[in-house]
């Protein structure tokens, strides 16, 4: 064996091919089957997509690097399920390009944050976390309240996600900017359009509360309020056990 190596280490290309061969085995065996084995991701009927406003909020969550302190994955451990809710299923992040499971909890897990607190609480918390949780060490995100949300690129973003397999319809892509506005202005024709395209369960609200202008705060709150609510499968599974 060492004699063989004695010869191998005299050949640049042979050595190079050796490294490529030996290093690729692990990844191929562990990753490739995840795309082909059907049970990897559960099939559920009620899985919905993010609305344009929620997706815009998700893009802000990504831009601000929230994954540095917040996970979005509840493990199959008793204390986690009791603290945060039913453990996370693969299907719940099926439309998450990329996933935000995270690796660190300087703050709590957010996988089931949606609906846990009111929009007002979320907004107040983002403006200054210490106003509502005095011990918190989260940065203040008051600047989101001042930043108007850019909606002109949302159609393009939804179209790109559709290319990646998220089932947005032509109508959803075409109306993305209007729907972002509509989800934050209840009782208007725009809001009705959102309801028609994304379902009655869609969370239509004034979110950040500033009437007339759509801010990044609206989008982020809309996203936080949908976390864990794209499908009911995890709750049904927990109830069935």
């Amino acid at each position: 064996m060492f004699g063989l190596h004695y010869r191998l280490e005299r050949k640049t290309i042979g050595f190079l091919l050796g490294i490529i061969g030996v290093s690729s085995i692990g990844g191929l065996i562990e990753i490739a089957p995840l795309f082909t084995i059907d049970e990897t991701v559960e099939q559920v009927a009620d899985m919905r997509v993010y609305t344009p406003l929620e997706q815009a909020g998700r893009d802000i969550y990504i831009r601000e690097g929230c994954y540095g302190c917040h996970s979005q994955l509840i493990r199959t451990l008793r204390d986690e399920v009791e603290r945060y809710g039913p453990f996370s299923l693969a299907v719940e992040s099926k439309y998450d390009h990329p996933m935000q499971w995270g690796s660190k909890r300087t703050g709590p897990d957010l996988a089931r944050m949606g609906g846990k607190y009111s929009d007002d609480w979320q907004r107040a918390h983002l403006i200054n976390p210490r106003d509502v949780v005095p011990e918190s060490n989260m940065p203040a995100y008051a600047f989101l309240q001042r930043a108007l949300l850019r909606t002109d690129n949302l159609g393009l973003r939804l179209a790109t996600l559709r290319q990646l397999g998220v089932p947005y319809t032509d109508e959803m892509v075409a109306n993305a900017a209007a729907d972002a506005q509509g989800q934050a202005t209840p009782d208007t024709a725009l809001a009705e359009g959102v309801r028609r395209r994304y379902g009655d369960a869609t969370n239509i609200s004034t979110f950040a509360g500033a009437a007339g202008k759509l801010t990044e705060m609206d989008a982020l709150v809309a996203y936080l309020q949908i976390l864990g609510r794209l499908t009911n499968a995890a709750h049904e599974m927990a109830a069935g056990e």
Partner: protein, 547 residues
């Protein structure tokens, strides 16, 4: 003239810089968001600086023909200085975010100053800026000496070094402005990723072409590791960063994978970035600087072979231990755990081989702070690999995952192993590169050593404590069967440890500043013309290939 290009090389460098300038200008003018415009302008400005330099020196006399009998160290010299600068920047931002966790109101009500944007700046500045520059600089140095051949392509080598640093600058400024994929350690957006791919392919080509010119029949162990580092990082980088840009004129992209497949790909990347960027590359450094600085040959050739192939094979399976108890199928978790435990064998084979190499030279470890940096790095390498294998065990991971224990583990590796070996290599190389007997001040090397080790120990102990306390508090039940502590209770309990960690980081930062000053003074006070003392190249070029 630093580059010492021939006429032909000047022409190809000019052409290359022109192409880069045009690409940069295109994005600066056509980009549809501020990010792409800014980064296009940065690219164009960098290329314009290169163009200006090339034009101003275009008619300078050509280097003498005897240059072919000397090593080409320009990129190494610049790379070493950049590594030290990035070290100070990375440690500074790291310590700043450590204080942010203690006092979160230091964000000036601005997005760029928030923890979420500064944290990737810290990780990237340290891993890619400091680590990457140290790796590129030392790899060029070692490659030439162990092959007894001059770098094959001076223009290519400069392109690699400067192009890589342009990538670092684009990445760092991007985070502050909000350009990130939020994939850990793979944050830069698609255009930066493509640029890095181009640079990396050039790196591989320079490496292979120089190896092909070697006048030593065997490829030395260091080069095995550097080759594995270059090759595997290329594969990891390309696969994990596969994404579709929203538009080729916008900075935003969405990753090709989603959910569980994305998680597995990400941690296959993330763990092997540790394995091949922060381990393999730095082991290459160790295998050169340890024997040279201690004056002892590597203890065992066979152990080198076993540990090299063991690391190359086992590491690639280990990533899934980041996903225990998640929605990732259990069989993948189990494979990841199993291989992570087995990984201890080649890791400790390397550490043992290195420690036994020091037999007969321990008195030098006592007297020479540079060699002590290298020795301490070996010890921390052994410690972190043992800890890593331990933490990958599912039931241990149940406690440690999501807590500061992981942070402590990573920093035992990053501060104790990566930074220590890099500082040792830099303190060894700088006098060689600038033709001096020693550093400007050996006392300051000593000061840096003790600051670094004190900082590391304080940091790691603080995070072990906070991590284990956090993990235990999260899973503690009262007698009536309910959770004993709220999340905020655990956060409050972290406060003293977060302060201690920031103090440890501060010591480490001060050490880095001392190091930068010492390197700078060594260069400034270097004699203009000094005797050559370097590893000899054969006097007559051997034209037959080395088999």
């Amino acid at each position: 003239m630093l580059a010492g290009f021939t006429k032909g090389e000047r022409f190809s460098a000019l052409s290359l810089a022109t192409v880069v300038a045009i690409v940069g200008l295109f994005f600066a003018l056509m980009g549809q968001d501020a990010l792409l415009q800014t980064h296009g302008a940065m690219m164009a400005a960098a290329a314009a600086c290169a163009l200006l330099y090339l034009v101003l020196t275009y008619s300078a006399p050509e280097p003498a023909l005897d240059r072919l009998h000397r090593y080409y160290d320009g990129p190494t010299k610049v790379g070493v200085v950049l590594a030290m600068i990035f070290a100070v920047v990375g440690f500074l931002v790291g310590d700043w975010v450590a204080w942010l966790l203690y006092n979160p109101d230091l964000t000036f009500d601005a997005g760029w100053a928030s923890y979420g944007r500064l944290r990737p700046l810290h990780t990237s500045a340290v891993i890619f800026g400091f680590g990457g520059n140290a790796l590129i600089a030392t790899s060029f140095y070692i490659l030439q000496r162990t092959s007894r051949a001059r770098l094959a392509d001076p223009v290519g080598a400069w392109f690699v070094l400067l192009g890589y640093n342009l990538f670092c600058a684009i990445a760092a400024s991007g985070y502050l402005m909000g350009a990130t994929q939020s994939k850990e350690y793979a944050e830069p957006e698609w255009y930066a990723d493509i640029w890095l791919t181009v640079v990396w392919v050039a790196y591989l080509l320079v490496y292979l072409r120089t190896l092909a010119r070697r006048r030593e029949p065997h490829i030395y162990v260091s080069n095995w590791y550097y080759l594995a580092f270059i090759l595997v990082v290329a594969v990891l980088h390309i696969v994990n960063n596969l994404a579709i840009p929203v538009s080729f004129l916008q900075s935003k992209s969405y990753s090709l994978f989603s959910g569980v497949q994305d998680a597995m790909t990400q941690w296959w990347y993330g763990h092997n970035a540790v394995g091949f960027f922060l381990t393999a590359g730095f082991l290459g450094m160790l295998y050169y600087y340890l024997p040279i600085r201690s004056g002892r040959p590597i203890f065992s050739y066979r152990l080198s072979i076993i540990s090299f192939w063991g690391i190359t094979f086992f590491y690639m399976w280990a990533g899934s231990h980041h996903l225990h108890y998640t929605a990732l199928p259990q069989w993948v978790q189990t494979l990841g755990m199993t291989f992570s435990v087995m990984l201890l064998v080649p890791s400790w084979a390397s550490a043992t081989n290195a420690l036994l190499t020091l037999n007969g030279a321990w008195h030098k470890v006592r007297d020479d702070a540079t060699l002590r940096f290298i020795t301490v790095a070996i010890l921390f390498y052994g410690l972190s690999t043992l800890e890593g294998s331990f933490m990958s065990i599912r039931s241990v991971n149940a406690l440690s995952h999501y807590t500061d224990w992981t942070i402590g583990h990573v920093h035992a590796g990053a501060m104790g192993w990566v930074a220590m070996i890099a500082f040792g290599a830099i303190y060894a190389s700088v006098p060689w590169l600038w033709k001096r007997d020693s550093m400007y001040s050996t006392r300051l090397v000593e000061v840096h050593f003790w600051l670094a080790i004190a900082g590391t120990v304080i940091y790691v102990f603080a995070m072990w404590n906070s991590g284990i306390i956090q993990g235990l508090m999260w899973r503690t039940y009262t007698e009536s069967g309910t959770l004993a502590y709220s999340f905020v209770d655990s956060l409050v309990a972290m406060k003293p440890y977060y302060a201690a960690r920031a103090v440890g980081g501060l010591l480490f930062l001060i050490g880095g500043v001392v190091g930068l000053y010492n390197v700078w003074m060594t260069i400034r006070t270097a004699p203009k013309a000094a005797a050559e003392f370097d590893r000899p190249m054969p006097a007559t070029p051997a034209f037959e290939p080395a088999e």
